[in-house]
Symmetry: C2
Subunit: 295 residues, 2 copies
């Protein structure tokens, strides 16, 4: 069978035009090199080196083979370089899935920090609902997911990043004292605006104040938090907003944010990956990085 060693030895011969020197270059004895060349020639059924007493000559076919061998060894080196590059911590490709109620708010902070700290990391991003993310994670299409905990799949590892408190967003026309701390009861009779089915934020909101406003909420199903907030600003109702979205979304003074009374409702944001993933270390580092940008 054709081997890389044969090609390497042959290239040395082709460069040195001398078996002895070539052998020295590849750090073997001259007979070892001679044999490999002989094997290569036998393998290819082709004379590559013309030996005449005092000097050697590469045949035209030999030169062509050398060209090809060179190309192959170069690509081999590239492969090794790639591996070396990818082996350093938090480098190479990581496919990260993020839920829609986090991606727009956390990624603008995360990405610059990651690029700065781990310049060799190449992040492939995907934004969709938790159910899809978990499915893709289990299937191997994603490596790691940033979502609300708990997921509680036995094969998945999850580590918490931070607690994301919920705020109540109401129309500023309501003239409520911002220092007032809200309780679930204060939602009585309010039109609660929610994201469409499948969003974990919708489920969390409902489980927090579900019994209270079950019926009113059925009529909405927005596709993004921005949309919901526009509706709040326009006076259609109120919504529950994760604190992490506040900075980005509330440039609108028609909306007032109210904090809930302790114990404040919140969602726990965490990082999830397969327990069997060989890059757990990397994901831990990613989690640390996430904590840094979110506190």
């Amino acid at each position: 069978m054709l081997t890389f060693k044969q090609l390497r030895y042959f290239l040395a011969v082709q460069q040195h035009h001398h078996f002895g020197n070539a052998a020295e270059e590849v750090c073997v004895s001259q007979p070892a090199l001679s044999m490999q060349i002989r094997d290569l020639e036998k393998e290819l059924g082709l004379c590559l080196v013309e030996r005449n007493a005092r000097s050697i000559r590469i045949t035209p076919e030999g030169e062509e083979i050398a060209r090809r061998a060179n190309q192959i060894l170069r690509e081999m080196q590239d492969l090794k370089d790639y591996a070396k590059h990818a082996a350093s911590p938090l480098s190479g490709i990581i496919r990260l899935g993020v839920i829609p109620s986090l991606a727009p708010y956390i990624l603008p902070k995360l990405l610059p920090a990651l690029i700065k700290q781990y310049p060799d990391l190449q992040l492939n991003l995907r934004e969709t609902l938790t159910a899809s993310l978990v499915s893709e994670l289990k299937h191997g299409t994603l490596d790691v997911v940033l979502a609300a905990l708990p997921i509680e799949e036995p094969e998945l590892e999850e580590v918490p990043i931070f607690e994301d408190h919920f705020l109540l967003a109401v129309s500023s026309s309501r003239k409520i004292d911002e220092r007032k701390r809200m309780g679930p009861d204060d939602l009585h009779g309010e039109n609660l605006l929610l994201l469409e089915e499948g969003h974990c934020l919708r489920d969390q909101t409902l489980s927090f104040c579900g019994a209270i406003s079950q019926n009113q909420s059925a009529n909405v199903g927005a596709t993004s938090i921005a949309t919901v907030l526009h509706m709040v600003a326009a006076g259609y109702g109120v919504t529950v907003l994760p604190e992490i979205c506040a900075d980005t979304e509330i440039a609108d003074d028609r909306i007032t944010l109210l904090r809930f009374a302790e114990p404040q409702p919140s969602r726990r944001i965490g990082l999830i990956w397969r327990k069997t993933s060989p890059k757990s270390e990397d994901y831990m580092a990613l989690a640390r990085c996430l904590r840094n940008v979110t506190n």
Copy 2:
């Protein structure tokens, strides 16, 4: 050291997603394959396959490595194919040198015959003077040379192809009976037109009738036989023309060709190559082909 085998085994794993089946495909036992994969991963310092109890998964880096490995193996196969192709008789690259007083006359016959009989042969042609051809042959820049014998270099093999008789080309205005057989004496007092220095044909002509017309010939030195013949046609003198050129060059009825008396002067055309060349067989076949097209 990274080996070809490791890449092949890994690609099998990547395709089958199963060590056992992959091992079967590459015709080794499963432990053997496992070890090669382990060695490859150690070599690259990189986890390529994520093993979890019941199934395996290729890591993103693994997929990238697989892509590169595939490319490398494909080029390896190309190299083998090239070698196989080049190994068949009279195939691959042959660099042929031909002297100027032969190339235009013999190649139009030779090339079609060669292409028909040896379609895998790739002929690189070079036309220049004998001295250069021999030098390049000895240096290895050429593989085989078609020229006038003898060369008589100890390291070169030469085989005769055919005898190329010399004819005397004179202006048709001379009204000489074409059936008359010329002797060297008939050149007395003629203006003998010759190619420039370095052409073997010039030397051969001079050695044949040198003593006779030494002084008259000094004034010319054409760069091609066609040029010389134009001068003959215009009445500037006579020249000695190899028979092989006759068909091609004498479409001009202002020139009459006269045959010399026996023993007719001639040059012996032959094929020359390095005795150490690994393709002597091929050159013998080439010589046979040349004889077929020149008799």
